[in-house]
Structure formats: structure tokens, C-alpha cells
């Protein structure tokens, strides 16, 4: 974990209506040893800003020298980020947390909903043709990064709630079909809590190991504040405990999560 001031190489609009951006950062140090499913805390707002909290973003992919994250503009912080131009610098803390339990010998189903696709995109970048991806969006304007999954070797299906792109319906249907069609050894899911809960329920009967990435509201991002806890099964007396998404997570085994 490092806190670095790094140069922006690219901050590119991927999808006009959905306001999805791809942000490429120049930092061999941050790229070094950074794993899919891990995340960075980026300082948003200039020196005079009213923001004290950094914003967490998953590693979308990285190479030797650069880290790429992708983000949706959803509020004031990401709005600010979207206005940053190449050459400017950002304060970036990371890599943080524990990523996906990637195993290149296992056929892995990646399930991503809206901004959750960026975290599983990281997994796709390492899995070559060993991954299939099921991506869900509200509507077609938000659809993005499909080519990137494909370029990494993943076979992709898209579903939108309003049917404006790909299939119409809920992501759980598509997950079920995919599992019926192909034998997967492992499943990684990232999306809203409700979506992950539903997907985990659909997956359960298949007995396949399923991991979810819990994107909780965070303050420190490093495990110091107990702000980002997730309720997990435990062998303590009460049978559960709160664990930190930023430190023990964000990736947890779905079977441990108390939804």
C-alpha cells in the first residue's frame, strides 16, 4: 500500500449517456503487485474541496507501468474526476484489500452489474479464455467495456432491465442459463448488494464456489476505522461478526455472507 501522486495518462469517456470513464494512471509502483478485485482510494476535489473522504475504485486492469480504473459518474466526486485531463496528477492510495481468488485452471463465471463490472473486468484480464462474463445494466446507454472483456478472451452475454441492449430481464436468469449451458468451477460476482444476494441464491444449488465483492461505504479504506463492515458467519458464540470490506474483503465467499 502506497499513497502516491500519479499522473493521469488518459481519462476517456466510454459511454456518452452512461457517463462511464476509463482512467489510466501512470505508476509502476502502484501497478506492481496489484491484483484483480483490489481497489484504490482516489482523492477527489482540488485543494479547496469540501471532500475529506477519498473514493474507492476497483482495479479494472493494469500492466507493468499503468493502472486503469473505470467509473460511472454518480455524484459530485466522480463528476469532479471526470473533468481531470491527462497530465494532471491524482493522489492515489493502494492497492487495497484482498482480490479475487483467481485460478487460471478454473473455468470462471464473471457476473457484473453496472459499476460492478469493473471489478470482474480485472479478473477477466487475468483469466484469458477461462472466463465467461454475464453483464447486467439498467439500459443500453450504460452498456460499456464489453469489447474489453472479449479482448481478454471472455465470452460475454449482456442483459438490460429494459431490453434496450442484449436480452431483456434480470441478470439472475442469464446466470442460470449460463450455468446450465457450461460447466463453471468458480463464480465471481460484483454489483449491488441485492443483485449479489440474488445471484448467490441462484448459484447455490449448483454447488459451485461463489465469491462476491462487497462495495461498502468506506472512510479509511485500510482497515483502521471499522466503517465498511459486512455481516459474516462466524464460529463465535453469536454465530456472526462484522468484518471490514476494505481489509478482510472486499471479496468474500458468498456462503459466509449474511445478507
Amino acid at each position: 500500500m502506497l499513497d502516491k501522486t500519479v499522473k493521469v495518462i488518459e481519462n476517456r469517456l466510454l459511454s456518452e449517456k452512461g457517463k462511464v470513464y476509463s482512467l489510466k494512471l501512470n505508476s509502476p509502483e502502484l501497478a506492481d503487485g496489484c491484483l484483480p478485485g483490489q481497489f484504490f482510494e482516489i482523492k477527489v476535489g482540488g485543494n479547496d474541496s469540501r471532500f475529506i473522504l477519498r473514493r474507492p475504485f476497483s482495479v479494472a486492469f493494469c500492466d507493468d507501468k499503468t493502472v486503469t480504473i473505470r467509473y460511472n459518474v454518480v455524484g459530485a466526486g466522480t463528476e469532479w474526476l471526470s473533468r481531470i485531463t491527462p497530465g494532471h496528477e491524482l493522489d492515489v492510495l493502494g492497492p487495497l484489500g484482498h482480490g479475487w481468488p483467481i485460478d487460471k485452471s478454473k473455468k470462471t463465471l464473471l457476473v457484473g452489474g453496472s459499476t460492478g463490472i469493473f471489478s470482474v473486468l480485472g479478473a477477466a484480464s487475468r483469466l484469458g479464455n477461462m472466463s465467461g462474463a454475464v453483464l447486467g445494466f439498467c439500459s443500453c446507454e450504460l452498456v460499456n467495456s464489453v469489447e474489453d472483456f472479449e479482448a481478454f478472451g471472455s465470452t460475454v452475454s449482456v442483459i438490460t432491465e429494459d431490453g434496450s441492449s442484449g436480452r431483456k430481464g434480470l441478470i439472475t436468469e442469464l446466470v442460470k442459463e449460463e450455468l446450465e449451458k457450461i460447466k463453471y468451477d468458480l463464480i465471481f460476482v460484483c454489483g449491488s448488494t441485492m443483485m449479489m444476494k440474488n445471484v448467490a441464491a441462484v448459484v447455490k444449488p449448483y454447488g459451485i464456489d461463489c465469491y462476491v465483492s462487497m462495495e461498502e461505504r468506506m472512510a479509511c479504506g485500510v482497515g483502521a476505522c471499522m466503517g465498511c463492515v459486512v455481516k459474516l458467519k462466524s464460529d463465535n458464540e453469536q454465530g456472526w461478526e462484522y468484518k471490514r470490506a476494505c481489509a478482510e474483503g472486499p471479496v468474500f465467499n458468498a456462503s459466509e455472507v449474511i445478507w
Binding site: 475529506i52 461505504r217 479509511c220 483502521a224 463492515v229 453469536q238
Partner: protein, 307 residues
């Protein structure tokens, strides 16, 4: 007096010498391990660890964090693994690396506090900080009631010879009255401020942003409030004053010391920049050099109020 251009950065709090006047505040730096890649607790004046209680606590349900203008709202609810766990695992490690350790203690009852301190008294923890701001102790928080604050402090005073710091709540009419009560009860220092209680609502869902509805405010938004309270308290008491609330840069720390703080603590500033404590130490040292102060403690109380 000295001829060398070196600044003595040490300060003395309740008979304990701190390397420098900069601490990280309870609840924002865990038990000292989480920021190790950025700073070691041994570099600080002291580390004020997350509250411990006699039994482990789950804390409040999430979401526990929300954003506020120039600050953070939190409702952790004092989740902690219990004092015994701390004594067995974190404390020995902290001491082994050379940290000065302040243990923040909470309880539901005065007996809880006493039980905790009895265990801590047998350890080599450096100081004990009584967190009396917790709003859940038997209706009215101890931190809002001078009598209760004095009673608790006096009881703990009998249990331990270790320095006692009483951490004051800002959610009171007169914080200096509570400070005076702590002093009367035998406290060696007061630390302030804990978080003012705030709230935020998500207008889309019409629900509070925190599961616990209300939470504690921290960060620059509370700095002027904290500074005022530190000033009032430092004027009122003779014991040491540890000042914090909204410090994110060395200039804030300098203001806090000028207002009367003997040392400062940094909480939300860590979320902003994890290296904030180091930058503050550096900045205070430079301030002393620039202003020919041989000891950093000369900043304390240097406010000029006559015009």
C-alpha cells in the same frame, strides 16, 4: 538559549514524555497496524488506539459512514474485540516497536470502565483515556454530567496510578465544566473533542444515510468548534489539554496549540491523507525554526488576546 538550530519536539503530558505533540486519535487508526506502510506508531507522540470495552462489541449495523461538507459522519458504535484481546495481541506489539500507547476505554456502566482499567493497570500501557462521550451509557451520557464525570474519574483514579486522560464530548452546554469535574476527580489530562452528533438523509430513499440514524461528525467542519472548546477548557483547567477535531494540516495543529493544547490528535485527517501526522510534525518543526522557538511546547498557549 540554545545556539544550535534544532527544535526540541518533545512535550510532557501527565509526567509522560512524548517524542512530539502529534497523536492519532482513537477510532481512526485501529490498533496501529493499518497505516504501517505510511507511518509507524513509534514515529508519533502517541497512538490513541480504538476504544476497548470489557467484552467484545459488534458495533452498529452498516452503513456506518456518510459524507458531510468538509467532513465525515460515522456511527461505528464502538466495535472492538474486547480489552483482553487488545492486551494479548496489539499492546505487546505496539510496545515492542517503541510506541507510546494511549488506550481508549468505554463501558456501559462505571463497573465496565473499572473492570477494563483493572486489567490495563497490570500492563505496560502508557496512558488510559476514558471515553465518556459514548451516548449509550445509562441514558444521559457521563460526558454530559459533571457529577458523573467526576465520580467515574475518581473511581478510576483509585484503581490505577497510570495517567488518566478524560475524553470530552462536545455535545454539552459547557465543556469546561466537565473538564473541571474530570480534574477534580483526579484526571491528569483531558482530551477534546469527541464527535459532535450529526445526521444526514438520502432524499432519494428518504432514509437516514446511517443505519444508526445519527452519527458523529469529524473533519475540518468541526475544527472551529473544537478550537473554541480547547481554548475555553485550557483556560479553565490546570491539567494537560490534548486538542483535536478537524486537524488536517500543520497550521490547524498550530492554531490548536496556540489556543492552549499541549498536544494534538488527528482523526479524519488520516482519511484525507494517511501521512497527515508526519506532515504535521514536520510543519510544526519548521514553524518553530522559522520563529526561533527552541521547544515546540512554546507554541502552546501563545495566543495573544489583548488588542
Amino acid at each position: 538559549m540554545e545556539n544550535t538550530k534544532k527544535v526540541d519536539m518533545s512535550v510532557e503530558i501527565a509526567g509522560i514524555k512524548l517524542k512530539n505533540p502529534v497523536m492519532t486519535s482513537s477510532g481512526t487508526c485501529g490498533y496501529g497496524r493499518d497505516y504501517l506502510d505510511i507511518w509507524s506508531p513509534a514515529e508519533l507522540g502517541a497512538i490513541m488506539v480504538k476504544a476497548v470495552s470489557i467484552e467484545p462489541r459488534n458495533g452498529n449495523p452498516p452503513p456506518r459512514i456518510a459524507e458531510i461538507p468538509s467532513g465525515v459522519l460515522n456511527s461505528i458504535g464502538l466495535q472492538n474485540p474486547g480489552v483482553r484481546h487488545f492486551i494479548e495481541t496489539d499492546l505487546p506489539w505496539l510496545k515492542s516497536i517503541g510506541a507510546t500507547v494511549v488506550t481508549n476505554v468505554v463501558g456501559y456502566t462505571m463497573d465496565d470502565y473499572a473492570a477494563c482499567v483493572e486489567l490495563l493497570d497490570e500492563t505496560d500501557v502508557d496512558m488510559i483515556e476514558l471515553n465518556i462521550s459514548c451516548p449509550n451509557v445509562a441514558g444521559k451520557p457521563i460526558g454530559a454530567d459533571p457529577e458523573a464525570a467526576e465520580t467515574l474519574t475518581a473511581r478510576i483514579r483509585k484503581i490505577t496510578k497510570k495517567p488518566i486522560i478524560v475524553k470530552l464530548s462536545p455535545n454539552v452546554t459547557s465543556i469546561s465544566d466537565i473538564a473541571l469535574a474530570a480534574e477534580a476527580g483526579g484526571a491528569d489530562a483531558v482530551s477534546l473533542i469527541n464527535c459532535p452528533m450529526g445526521m444526514r438523509i438520502n432524499i432519494q430513499t428518504r432514509r437516514p444515510m446511517l443505519a444508526n440514524i445519527t452519527g458523529g461528525m469529524s473533519g475540518p467542519a468541526i475544527f472551529p468548534l473544537a478550537l473554541r472548546m480547547v481554548w475555553q477548557t485550557a483556560k479553565a483547567v490546570k491539567i494537560s489539554v490534548l486538542g483535536g477535531g478537524g486537524i488536517v494540516k500543520w497550521e490547524d495543529a498550530a492554531e490548536m496549540m496556540m489556543a492552549g493544547a499541549d498536544a494534538v490528535f488527528i482523526g479524519a485527517g488520516l482519511f484525507y491523507y494517511p501521512a497527515t501526522p508526519l506532515k504535521v510534525i514536520e510543519g510544526l518543526e519548521k514553524y518553530c525554526l522559522d520563529n526561533n522557538l527552541s521547544n515546540v511546547s512554546m507554541i502552546t498557549d501563545s495566543l495573544i488576546t489583548d488588542r
